[in-house]
């Protein structure tokens, strides 16, 4: 402990010598929300920085003098002011940017450009609220996972699944974080929607590979979702109704802070069930999100975030609902507390305490008493500390701790008895990371080391990471990254079924090796114009000790999981235009992924060779209405087909032998579906009605009604021949909605 104090004192003292320094926060002038990755530059010095996720920046080693400091950010008017820097003094600023009118679109690229110049962010894609809600909406509901699915390297296996298959990794290899809360099963309605209200989300960052040492415990990617802090200037609200759900968002100031609350509940399933006279069957889901911020003082800020999401499916006897009913429910809930502190001008840190819980329940009730109940849950307790020490504006050191406890439990109550099983895993990790622009405007290195320890099996896992950026010119840079990643929690359910309710997570059994992956990534970034970015990346991911379900099984017991090796490799292209009369992006992914179990090799069902996503947005195209198109083309996904059939006789006690048909499976995932393609269109028009901004939106999914295959099944026709039938994905589906904001 004494060593830690000495180290901290050294860090604090070393930043202030002979020169001066400038630090501060950059916020939105209208809402008070921090502006993430805003560009801060001291003109004429070559010194510059980007704000961190809390809007904080630090510029050290500034020679005494008077300067012009410029701050710019996407969608905001640039800010410029004169500052005076004195020797051994810290100049603290609190800068507020005002939203820019549309015609100032060209300044919207500066922050992204600033990140390009100062960060090693290989395989990183970031989207803010405006971009998330851009794409046409399924059922009128924006879904951030659906938008993320349109990025390069990300594929989805069906219209009914929001699962993310990133660079050949299965969905359980993605770490999903909401304000530091780990979300284990981020889906509603069997995978159609995710449990986040997009309008309450400030920023989504996808780290598709080679992610920094700060993150761990997953093999493929990190999806870091940050909730908006809420408007600290005035009370605002927003309500919307679509064909699927209604939602409301309210936010406003509180003493020394702000608060935001968002809620959504479905009603479409209720309507459909009523229309189809499905008496005795009910379904709904809801989401609650909230965040509160409290500024303790200038240097310390506390925030609380919460998530509550649940699906409820119930059956009952329509004539005697109290006599017999069944209720299934599952969902996510979590809270986090975050303390963001400027311990000294050069030492910024955040301490996060988070609790998250995925729960599932199944209850059969007879009259007044419960007769059968099954409850399962997965609880995560997480204490994290992330610290950044600013050596100077081009050199920072990050370090931190990530202490977790995961508890999995299952309890079954049956009349007078019950049994319960439980398991606990403690993943503990510490990391150190250095980001150093060794040659100004030429070479940036980001070496890091994460040391992880997993209690189950007493596994110690070193995870070295390295990121490199080399500038070929003002507009072009080469990126590379390599790193080792391990994962102590896995899922037991197969991802093959088209619909799944939720995943079942367990620790890696202690007699099995921890699954690991090594990422090798290289790419080029090029700014074609001020607002057009082209990114090309290639990657190779080497998997070891993966634990896969058995072929044909929905669930495989932990001890029976099969050890698999494998790889994923591919190339990606992203052309993104952030502003102008036409904006959007084109994403192309080329991918190979393969698994080997003993002597059998196969391409898993998410091995899509080519995938193209085109998103085009025409803002204010006609009479102020926005028009958006999204087109997707993906080559066929593998599936496990059939090779033959045979008569299967089963003899029953006391009865005759019965014959049924059974099919003979072909090799695992040896067949491929036809190519997938779909065009969506969205139209929205916002008008001022009294104090309200009222938006009417019309979205059409699958505009030309492509018959994309969801699955094949076989039946015997009257002639005794097996015949293949197909079920298609979503047909043309128009939806209408309205949104009001004050």
């Amino acid at each position: 402990m004494r060593h830690l104090c000495l180290f901290t004192i050294f860090l604090v003292s070393s930043g202030l010598a002979r020169t001066g320094a400038v630090n501060g926060f950059v916020r939105d002038a209208t809402s008070g929300e921090p502006l993430v990755y805003a560009n801060v530059e001291i003109k004429g010095t070559g010194l510059g920085a980007t704000t961190n996720p809390k809007g904080y920046f630090y510029l050290g080693d500034v020679s005494p003098g008077t300067y012009q400091i410029e701050v710019s950010y996407i969608g905001f008017a640039p800010h410029s002011e004169k500052i005076t820097v004195s020797e051994d003094r810290l100049t603290s600023l609190s800068i507020e940017l005002k939203p820019a009118p549309v015609e100032l679109g060209e300044v919207r690229v500066t922050a992204e450009r600033a990140r390009f110049e100062r960060e090693v962010e290989i395989s990183t894609k970031r989207m803010d609220t405006k971009q998330l809600v851009l794409v046409p909406k399924l059922g009128g509901e924006v879904d951030i996972f659906r938008t993320v699915q349109l990025l390069p390297g990300v594929i989805t296996v069906s219209d009914f699944s929001n699962k993310l298959y990133i660079r050949g990794g299965s969905p359980d290899q993605n770490l999903i974080l909401l304000d530091g809360i780990t979300v284990y099963n981020p889906s509603h309605l069997f995978g159609i929607f995710s449990p986040f209200v997009p309008e309450a989300v400030a920023d989504v960052t996808l780290l598709a590979g080679g992610f920094p040492a700060q993150f761990g415990s997953r093999l493929s990617s990190v999806l870091d979702v940050t909730t908006r802090e809420g408007n600290s200037k005035r009370y605002t609200g927003e309500g919307s109704v679509s064909m699927v759900a209604a939602k409301a968002i309210a936010e406003g100031p509180i003493p020394k802070g702000s608060i935001l609350f968002a809620a959504r509940r479905t009603y479409l399933p209720d309507i459909l069930l009523t229309l189809f006279s499905a008496e005795g069957l009910g379904y709904y889901f809801y989401d609650l999100m909230g965040k509160a911020n409290y500024g303790i003082n200038e240097n310390h800020r506390l925030s609380f975030a919460g998530l509550g999401a649940e699906d409820v499916l119930s059956f009952w006897d329509p004539e005697q609902p109290d006599a017999f009913n069944v209720r299934m429910s599952w969902g996510n809930r979590g809270i986090s507390t975050r303390l963001n502190s400027i311990f000294s001008p050069v030492l910024y840190g955040e301490i996060i305490a988070a609790w998250s819980n995925f729960f599932s329940g199944f209850r059969v009730k007879f009259e007044e008493s419960d007769d059968f109940q099954m409850k399962g849950d997965l609880t995560n307790y997480n204490l994290k500390g992330n610290f950044t020490y600013y050596l100077h504006d081009r050199h920072t050191i990050g370090f931190g701790l990530d202490l977790q406890a995961n508890r999995m439990g299952l309890r079954v109550d049956f009349d007078t008895t019950y049994f319960a099983v439980a398991d606990t895993l403690y993943p503990l990790a510490a990391y150190l990371e250095d980001k150093w622009e060794i040659i100004p405007k030429k070479l940036i290195l980001r070496p890091g080391l994460r040391l992880a320890w997993y209690s189950k099996g007493n596994n110690f896992e070193p995870e070295p990471r390295l990121g490199v950026k080399f500038f070929l010119g003002k507009n072009t840079a080469l990126n590379a990254a390599v790193g080792r990643f391990t994962q102590p929690l896995i899922t037991l359910n197969s991802t093959d079924p088209v619909f799944s309710i939720y995943d079942v997570w367990v620790p890696v059994p202690k007699n099995r090796s921890i699954p690991s992956a090594i990422h090798y990534i290289a790419g080029v970034e090029h700014w074609l114009k001020e607002n057009i970015l082209i990114q090309v990346e290639g990657y190779y991911k080497d998997y070891n000790h993966l634990l896969e379900t058995r072929y044909g099984e929905f669930f495989t017991a932990p001890d029976s999981l099969l050890t698999a090796e494998g790889f994923s490799s591919g190339a990606e292209l992203l052309i993104r235009k952030n502003s102008g009369k036409v904006n959007g992006w084109l994403a192309y992914s080329y991918m190979w992924t393969k698994r080997s179990i003993n002597s059998e090799s196969y391409h898993p069902h998410y091995d899509r060779r080519h995938n193209i996503n085109l998103v085009l947005n025409f803002p204010a195209l006609l009479l102020g209405a926005d028009l958006t198109f999204r087109w997707t083309l993906g080559t066929g996904l593998p599936y496990s087909g059939l090779a033959g059939y045979y008569p299967r006789v089963v003899e029953r006690p006391g009865g005759k032998a019965e014959m049924q048909w059974d099919f003979i499976d072909g090799a695992r995932d040896a067949f491929r579906y036809p190519a997938y393609h779909r065009l969506d269109a969205g139209f929205s028009k916002t008008s001022k009605v009294g104090k309200f901004d009222v938006s009417i939106f019309l979205d059409v999914i699958n505009l030309y009604n492509a018959r994309n295959v969801l699955l094949y099944y076989w039946e015997f026709n009257p002639d005794g021949f097996p015949q293949r039938h197909q079920i298609n994905m979503i047909p043309i589906l128009p939806t209408l909605g309205i949104k009001a904001r004050f």
Partner: protein
């Protein structure tokens, strides 16, 4: 320029189409055998057919197979019995704990072999023949030590062909009330499907219990579609060669409501069994 574009288009077409070819799935037809030896049965029976390509039509006639079963007692040959059925002309004495071997051959297919060990005997303690039971009663029988599981079947006597209730019960130690000597079903709440209304006279039913060897237990479970790939325990072909020990008894099922029972239970203390707590 146009030539370049054309080449580019060809290349793109190649990229998109080449990887979409579904490889030909090799398919070699195999013999499909079903044979279940049961204690108390007179003659052994079997059905033999083959597997088919998806493009082939099923043929219910399969006359040219040769079958034999052997044990330490002797060897029995099967004869063709029409369709795809075969039967031993002589009675086969299937006894508990005996090991039996099956060989099926056909000139056009690989030879199929299998082995089964007949489970040990067991006795149903409750209900007894002629008892009247309800959903709140337990069922108890002595454990058959070599069986992998039990196949239970309740059938209404009046409606024997159209209504039955089957259950597969493993013979393993996962059950919280595990007893190495006895198997219990603490409450047969599934009987409410066959039970008459509470005030009606009891319904006559027949209860069958088969203790199954590993082969047939896996085969029956595989037919439910709940498990993954079958463990067929045959070499050279598909199907099953298994054995079962049968018990059956006539019983009566009376109406009862769970609520009546549960109200009674509220007055009693609840015993609790714990595992890993």
């Amino acid at each position: 320029m146009q030539v370049k574009l054309l080449r580019l288009a060809h290349f793109a077409l190649f990229l998109f189409s080449a990887c979409e070819l579904t490889p030909d799935q090799p398919f070699a037809p195999q013999l499909v055998v079903h044979s279940l030896l049961r204690t108390g049965e007179n003659r052994a029976r079997a059905r033999v057919n083959r597997s088919y390509k998806l493009s082939e039509k099923y043929d219910s006639l399969f006359p040219d197979a040769r079958l034999k079963i052997t044990s330490h007692i002797g060897e029995w040959q099967f004869v063709y019995d029409g369709g795809d059925s075969y039967i031993t002309p002589e009675p086969v004495p299937v006894e508990n704990r005996d090991t039996w071997f099956l060989v099926v051959s056909h000139p056009d297919f690989d030879t199929v072999t299998g082995r089964t060990i007949v489970p040990q005997p067991y006795e149903i303690i409750f209900p007894r023949a002629g008892d009247t039971i309800s959903v709140n009663d337990s069922m108890v029988w002595t454990r058959s030590q070599d069986a992998k599981g039990y196949y239970l079947s309740f059938r209404q006597v009046q409606d024997i062909d159209t209504f039955y209730l089957d259950a597969i019960i493993p013979n393993d130690s996962f059950d919280i009330t595990y007893d190495s000597l006895l198997v219990r079903i603490p409450k047969m709440f599934f009987l409410f499907l066959v039970a008459p209304p509470p005030d009606s006279p009891p319904k006559p039913c027949t209860l069958w219990v088969w203790a199954l060897d590993t082969n047939y237990y896996d085969w029956v479970l595989g037919a439910t579609g709940l498990t993954g790939k079958d463990s067929m325990h045959l070499s050279g072909g598909l199907g099953v060669f298994g054995s079962a020990v049968e018990n059956f008894l006539p019983i009566f099922v009376r109406g009862d409501t769970l609520s009546q029972r549960l109200r009674l239970q509220e007055k009693r203390s609840k015993p609790v069994y714990r595992l890993n707590r």
